[in-house]
Symmetry: C2
Subunit: 457 residues, 2 copies
Amino acid sequence: MSIENAIERLEAMLGPRLSTAAAIREHHGRNETYYPVTPPDAVAFPETTEEVAAIVRLCAEERCPIVPWGVGTSLEGHALAFEGGLSLDMSRMDRILEVHEADMDAVVQPGVTRKRLNEELRATGLFFPVDPGADATLGGMAATRASGTNAVRYGTMRENVLALEAVLADGRVIRAGTRARKSSSGYDLKNLIVGSEGTLAVITELTVRLHGQPEAVSAATCAFETVGGAVNACIETIQSGIPVARIEFLDAASIAAFNDYAGFDLPVRPHLFLEFHGSEAGVAEQAARFGEIADEHGAQGFRWTSDAQERNRLWSARHNAYFAFKAQRPGARALTTDVCVPISRLAEAIEAAAADIAQSRLSGSILGHVGDGNFHVAYLLDPDSPEDLEEARRLTHRMNLNALALGGTVTGEHGVGRGKIPYMAAEHGEAWQVMAQIKRTLDPLNILNPGKVVQIN
Amino acid sequence: MSIENAIERLEAMLGPRLSTAAAIREHHGRNETYYPVTPPDAVAFPETTEEVAAIVRLCAEERCPIVPWGVGTSLEGHALAFEGGLSLDMSRMDRILEVHEADMDAVVQPGVTRKRLNEELRATGLFFPVDPGADATLGGMAATRASGTNAVRYGTMRENVLALEAVLADGRVIRAGTRARKSSSGYDLKNLIVGSEGTLAVITELTVRLHGQPEAVSAATCAFETVGGAVNACIETIQSGIPVARIEFLDAASIAAFNDYAGFDLPVRPHLFLEFHGSEAGVAEQAARFGEIADEHGAQGFRWTSDAQERNRLWSARHNAYFAFKAQRPGARALTTDVCVPISRLAEAIEAAAADIAQSRLSGSILGHVGDGNFHVAYLLDPDSPEDLEEARRLTHRMNLNALALGGTVTGEHGVGRGKIPYMAAEHGEAWQVMAQIKRTLDPLNILNPGKVVQIN
C-alpha cells in the first residue's frame, strides 16, 4: 500500500497515459504565483468517467493522493500535490457532448476550456458568460467556484453550473442537479461539489447554463481623481440598478503597467472599465446613466466605444493586467490575493489596502470586480528575497483580516487552496469543522486533494 | 429517555411557551393538502437562538423528534410530526434585525413572513422578490428552497438567501454564507441547508438579498386556443430573452374556477398571465414583444394594464387559484403536486398531464410558473373516497415519472417532505445515498424532522 505501488498499477492500467517523466511532472507542479514548483509523483490522463472511477478506487486502495488538474491557472496552490501522489490531468476529457439551444444549456466534459466552448457556441446566438480571465477549464472553474469580470451580471459558477457528474473518493459515480431550471428535490449536492476544489469529488461532466448573446455590447473607460471616487461611482451604479455586464476597478499602478504592456495611453489614475450588454438603445442608455453618476464622483474623461475590435483590445489588456504588472519588474514573481466585502464597505477596504501598499517596501497594484465588492491585490516579489515574501504575506494577512472585519470573505473567487487555509477558522468558526465532517464522511481516507480547503487530523 | 421526558423537561425550561393543549397541537398537525391532521406531542415557541440550541440538545438527549414549523403552508407534509415529538414553532422569532439599504440585503429572524418584510421595506425602494403565493415565513421558505411566480426573473431562495445562522442536531450554532455578494471560501454549507427541510439544521437567522423596486410594473393576460399555443408562446418568450418578471400558465379549468371565485370574466381557455418590471418604456417594449410572440401562437386577446389596483386584483386572484379551484367542489380536498422540466419539454409534459386528467374520474387543474419549466396539477378529491385518493396518486405518479423521463425533477419548488420520497431514488440514484450519508453525519440520532427528504435505517 503505497504511492509507488499505485503508480506501478496505474501504469499497467493506463499505459502511456500514465507519466512519470520529469518534464510532465514539473509542468503539473508549476503555478502562477509564489509557490515553488511542486511536482506530483506521476500524472494520469484519463479519457472516460469509468477510467476516473477506476483510478480513484485504485488510489484509495493504495492511499495515493489524487489532485485533479485543469490547466493550472489556480492562484492559491489548489492543484499542487503538496503531499505527493497523482496529478489527474483532465485535458483528454474535453468533448462538448450536447448543446441544447432551446434550453440554453450545454453538457461538457471537464477539460473543455471556456474559450473553446464559446467558439463552438458562436453560431448559436448563445454564450457561456463566466470569465475569470485565464482560459481555464470548465471543470477547474467549477471546482473553484470561479467567477470573474462579468459575474456582476451573469453570476458565478454556482449559478451557471446546472448539474454535474462526479466520481467520489470510493469510486462511486453520482449525478447532482438537473437540466430543469429549478428544483427543490433534496440536498443541493451540486453546490456542495462546486467550490470544493477537488476535495470531495472529481468532476467528470458538467451541464452549464448558456445566455443569449447580447444584441449590442459597448465598452467604456473612465478615469477618476481618487480611488474613493471610482469606487463610490461603482457603488452608486450598482445601487441604481444599472445592469452593467462588467465594472472593473484598476488603480493607477495597474494603469501604468497596462499602458506600458499594451501600448495604451490612459491617464495614470484610478479607472473604471465597464461593459454594457443590451439592445442598441439599452446600452446607450446604460452608458449615459453611468456617465452622470461618474461625473458626480470626479470623473475625468469618459470614453465609450461600441467598436468590437477596440473593445476586445481593451478587455484583452484588462485580462492581461496581471502579466502587465509582472512585466514591470523583470524576473519578479507576483503574490496575488483576493477578498470580497459588502459593497458599502468597498471603498474603505480598497483604501486600507492602498495605504498598506504605500507604506510598504513592495510595489503592489489593486484591481477588481468591484460591482460584486470583489478586488485583488498583486505584490511584486524578488523570488530570492525572503524579506519580500514576508512583507507580501504580512500585507495579505492584513487585507484578509480587514475583509473579515468588514463583514466580507477572504476569497471572492480565487478559492482556498492552501493559501487561505489559515483564515478559514476565523471566517467560518464552527462551520469549518462541519466542512471537515463532510470531508471525512465522503473521503474518509483523505485521498482527494488532501490539505486543501479543510484540515483533517 | 423518551418523548414524555423531553416534554416534561421542556415545560420546566419554557413554561407556558411549551404547549400540549389539544387545539395548539392540532393546529400544528394541519396541512393544506391530503394528509390527515397529524398533531405533534407538544409545541415549543422559542424566542432566541440560544433557546433553540438548548431545546435541540435536550431533545437529542431524549431522542425526541423535532419538526420546525413556520406557518404550515408546505404541500408535501414537510412540517408534520409523523413520528411524534416536538413541533418547533418559530413564530416568536419574527424580528427584522437589520436592513442594509446600501448593500441591498436584510437580516431577519426565521419567523418573519415575506409580506411583513415587504411592508417594512416599502419606504426603502427595495423589495424581497421570492413569492410562493402563500404568506410563508422566510425560514420555512429557505428550508424548502421555495420560489414561485417571479423566480424566472429574481431566482429562488437559493439565490436570495445570502447567509444564515442555524442550530445543528447537536446544538452547535453555525453561520454559513456571507453578506459579500460572492465567495469561494469553502464548501457551500448555506446551500446545503437551504432546501434541507429542517432535516440537517434549524434555521435561526437569515440574510436575504433585496432588489430595487421596479420603476414601472405592468401586467398582461392573454388567452390561447390550445395548451400548446400558450406553452410555446412562453418558451419563445424566454428564449427571446424578454426579462419577464412573471409568466404563469393557467389551464381552462383554472380560469373557470378563477372567474367564479374572483368575479372575473376571462374566456374559459388556456391563459398566460404576465408581469413586466422595468422603466416605463421598458415594460411597454417587453409587452409589445410578448404580444408579437403570442400572436404567432394563436393568442385570442391580449389585455394589458399598468394600473396597480387592477394588477393586484389579478395577481391576488392568481395566488388564490388553489382555493378557487377547491371552492369548485365544496367539501373537497385537493391533492397538488409540482414538477419541473427543461423548457423544451414543457409542452409535452403539460399535454401529457392534461390528457391524464381528461381520462380520469377526477377533475384537475394545471397551472404553473412556466418560464422556469415548472408547473402544478391539483386534483379535487372527496376526502372520504379511497378511490379518489388512489386515482389522484396514480395520476401524480405518472406525472412524476414523466418529468424524470423528460430530464426534469419531481419537484420544482414544493420540496420532498414525505410525499416525494418515493421518487428520490429514481431521480438521484446513488446521490440520494450521499444525501443520507450527510444526514447521518450531521444528525446521527435522526432527531431533526425524521422521515423527510432522506431515508435513514
